[in-house]
């Protein structure tokens, strides 16, 4: 199964955001401390396993319980707890008091893809996209997280921790990217057969590129009237998938505007190549079991090829 992973880093150990960096520091502190404690306790255990001629007195052994089992853990745990609780509001600040108020992008988890809605900003209109998130480096951004069907979880490991998407609830998360780059973000709450194949790409950009991208996204693709474009409409693809500027709005499946720019097809299932797009159209469930999109293997191969060409060409 040629799964795609070439869509960027997905590791909490390579932080590219404020929250992830703060948690990484916390992790380092704990790993060093934990290693020392483990070595000390296991060393003591090994020492205790030796047969010795003069056993400790009961009193001394009792003192070991008091100091090693109570006093030391008490102090260490209290310090660690205070550090972590202090860290919570500092990495996830109160948005109501945050100035300037961060932009809020709405992300909805659906089986098994991500609907993404950008709000209007600086004279740029709002628009919808899917499975690929582009963010501005150095700016805190908030996410309004929802679920359409079952519980999903939103996690960009390089930027920070995760937040669940729960039907009936709207959760908020804010993140602050500090480095540009392409990253990968998986769904982290088991959400059904293809939970595994539900990821999105995150591209953190410099301001100029970002503004240009948003302007283009809002405007949409330019109709070219090619064969693929016509087939896309004729075979009913446009019934579920919208291509802004070309088809009417369609909301059942992921929006495909500028699909050619995306890293993957099928929300992280396959690399975005012509061949993979064709494979996916022919039988989505073969690559992504449980996917809601029906198989189109009754279409002539050349039609599928034309549609794939068209989609990959939407850049």
């Amino acid at each position: 199964m040629p799964l795609s992973g070439c869509t960027g880093v997905q590791s909490a150990l390579d932080p590219a955001g404020e929250e992830a960096a703060a948690i990484y520091r916390l992790l380092l502190v704990m790993v060093v401390g934990g290693t020392l404690i483990w070595c000390a306790v296991v060393g003591l255990l090994l020492h205790a396993s030796q047969r010795r001629n003069a056993p400790w007195s009961e009193r001394t052994a009792g003192r070991l319980i008091v100091w090693g089992g109570v006093a030391f853990p008490l102090v260490v745990l209290l310090a660690l707890l205070a550090y972590a609780v202090w860290l919570m509001p500092s990495i996830r600040p109160w948005l109501a008091r945050h100035a300037p108020a961060p932009e809020t992008i709405e992300v909805t988890g659906e089986q098994f893809w991500w609907r993404i809605r950008y709000p209007a900003r600086d004279g740029l209109p709002a628009f919808e996209t899917a499975n690929e998130l582009r963010l501005l480096v150095g700016e805190r951004v908030a996410f309004s997280l929802k679920a359409a069907d079952v519980i999903h979880s939103f996690w960009i490991p390089v930027l920070g921790g995760k937040m669940d998407m729960i039907p009936g609830r709207t959760n908020t998360l804010s993140l602050s990217p500090t480095k540009t780059g392409i990253f990968r973000a998986p769904c982290t709450e088991f959400c059904g057969t293809s939970h595994t194949l539900m990821a999105f790409s995150v591209i953190v950009m410099e301001p100029a590129d970002y503004i240009a991208w948003r302007r283009a996204q809002a405007a949409g693709d330019v109709p070219g009237g090619g064969e693929g474009e016509q087939l896309f409409a004729r075979h009913g693809c446009a019934g579920c998938h919208g291509v802004r500027g070309v088809t009417g709005p369609a909301t059942l499946g992921p929006d495909l505007t500028f699909f050619g720019q995306r890293q993957t097809v099928g929300a992280g299932t396959l690399a975005n190549t012509k061949e993979n797009v064709a494979r996916f159209i022919r039988d989505p469930a073969a690559w992504k079991p449980g996917a809601k999109m029906p198989a189109f293997d009754m279409l002539p191969s050349k039609d599928i090829a034309a549609i794939s060409d068209y989609l990959v060409g939407l850049k």
């Binding site: 009961e58 009193r59 009792g62 008490l74 745990l77 209290l78 707890l81 205070a82 609780v85 202090w86 919570m88 509001p89 996830r92 109160w94 948005l95 109501a96 008091r97 937040m163 959760n171 908020t172 998360l173």
Partner: protein, 126 residues
């Protein structure tokens, strides 16, 4: 009539301090959860809630200190050392006193742990 037999009643003293911890924990959690869930029109501010919970913490801590004092008394004010393993009623009482005292200590610490968030967190936000 008696719902709980007498000999068990004195076993309950062992559980007094942890029960105070449990009540304190529940009061803190439920108050904060209901306050934040019903934050639409709160009758008082988050600050006021934090102060109230700090007061509850002090009450809980004094309850635990009291239970610790009673346990200490039962333990004969530390006159005898553990292990309290003689087959006598006296040693059984000393054991109960000592175990209760230890539990009071643990509960005291645990209440302080649970109060730590009150010092750092200032709003309902997730």
């Amino acid at each position: 009539m008696r719902l709980i037999p007498k000999d068990v009643e004195s076993l309950w003293t062992l559980f007094t301090a942890p029960t105070i911890w449990a009540l304190h924990f529940l009061v803190c959690y439920v108050t904060a959860a209901v306050f934040c869930a019903k934050a639409g029109a709160p009758p008082f501010s988050f600050e006021a809630m934090r102060l109230a919970l700090c007061a509850v913490t002090l009450v809980a801590l004094s309850g635990i200190v009291l239970s610790a004092y009673l346990a200490w008394r039962q333990w004969g004010f530390g006159s005898g050392d553990p292990p309290h393993d003689e087959p006598t009623r006296k040693d059984r009482l000393l054991f109960q006193g000592f175990a209760t005292l230890l539990l009071a200590g643990l509960s005291f610490v645990a209440v302080i742990f649970v109060a730590v968030p009150l010092a750092f967190i200032e709003a309902c936000q997730p």
